[in-house]
Symmetry: C2
Subunit: 257 residues, 2 copies
């Protein structure tokens, strides 16, 4: 079915009006998608340092000014309180609710950080002939992240099972997207990085890889979200998993953002 | 003359002991070199946002914790107060002095930010057969940067004159160094970006380009330094131009930092 929205802006307006409340996975190909983490300005310095120190997992695409809800670089005119399909509201580290509009919870002292998402490169991979299964796992690992202030934790990764030749194509191709996690961080045996295949964050438990496929692992934007959650911030607003913020940035314009 | 220091650590110790006080240009090939900006923690949040919003010019390689002088990722064990060859001390936006040791001026509330430097990729360019002249210009342009808090200003660039085929090689090669300014931002006519060839920050005034060469322009790490200077911070400590901080990071290990 062809995409009914011609531009990222039209897609965001549909979300603002409550007409689009479902996932963005494989939707709006060609536009850079981002994870959202909105948190109090008081905690934002340490969070930015955490993102810098763990750049593979947390490539920052845009940051709002305190009190502003507009990501002026990534999507001028957008309103981050309404222009995502679904949100998660966390209070003191506990999820309170999953609304389709965040205005009720937003505060003037929040800073919104947009973090590049690997949802962005699935479409270029497909265009390059890489055979993708519909399943993308999100897994905890035993790899430590570099802490900053109250933010710390283990690295979280996405896992795709690819044909060996596709793993090589995918490595070259995703290296061109440094602001959407870049090249993979691991190929092959999940146990090398302590990836928890028995208890995935997203996906079914994995007993053995599909025949003729190799696991390819990318740093995942859930990492900083989990670190912020573990820090038990009084308030944090994020996208709901699989429901990315669709920016005006073109995925193929590789010299941005 | 072969380099007398086998490792980055030995080079830094020579600087700490006051035995190396001169420039690092074309020295210690293979090690990532960085610009230093140390500023009060109070101003550091806006500075980090400024760097994020102008990433081509300000790719952050490491940030110290407040009160620490050790860049734990880029050079474990190093002391940023002593391990550069020469510093600049700025007070209220005015340069006070250019010492070879910054301990006298350092304060416990300073945060040190290391920013990737294009000095890092001159050696890979040479290895790829790119014909480099000894001259690298640093020029003001009319391109605005994206402001953050009290930080703003015009983009500053480096300019190298290359043979056209070398410009193509250099574009491909430097794209592999996203944390040292990445690919060029402009090729050709300086006036397209309002580059001030009559009054360079570094280098002689340029009347016309060398015959058979084309200008290739990269975003320059002097940009954030100038923005911090214009913000007239009470205290700022930087490297002296051409006197970079030599990290333990390998320039050829392209998946870091």
């Amino acid at each position: 079915m062809p995409e009914p929205y011609a531009t990222a802006s039209e897609a965001r307006l549909a979300m603002r009006r409550g007409e689009w409340t479902g996932p963005t996975t494989y939707r709006m190909p060609g536009w850079v998608q981002c994870n959202l983490v909105a948190l109090p300005r008081e905690d934002a310095y340490d969070f930015l340092v955490y993102c810098q120190r763990n750049r593979d997992a947390c490539p920052i695409v845009d940051i709002t000014d305190p009190g502003s809800v507009e990501p002026a670089h990534a999507a001028p005119g957008a309103d981050l309180r309404t222009d995502l399909a679904r949100y998660r509201i966390y209070q003191n580290g506990e999820m309170a609710t999953e609304p389709t509009d965040a205005r009720e919870w937003w505060r003037d002292d929040l800073v919104a950080v947009l973090i590049g998402s690997s949802l962005t490169f699935d479409e270029p991979l497909r265009r390059a002939g890489v055979e993708l299964s519909p399943d993308v796992w999100v897994l905890r690992t035993e790899l430590p992240t570099r802490p900053a202030g109250r933010f710390s934790g283990r690295l979280i990764v996405t896992l795709r099972f690819l044909r060996p030749r596709d793993a090589i194509i995918a490595t070259q191709l995703t290296a061109r997207f440094p602001w959407n996690h870049g090249a993979p961080l691991h190929i092959g045996d999940p146990s090398d990085i302590g990836a928890d295949v028995a208890d995935p964050i997203v996906g079914e438990p994995i007993t053995e890889p599909p025949i003729g496929r190799t696991g390819v692992f990318w740093a995942c934007g859930v990492t900083p979200q989990q670190a912020a959650l573990d820090a038990r911030l009084p308030l944090m607003i994020t996208h709901c998993p699989g429901h990315g913020f669709i920016t005006d940035l073109r995925a193929d314009a590789i010299c941005q953002p």
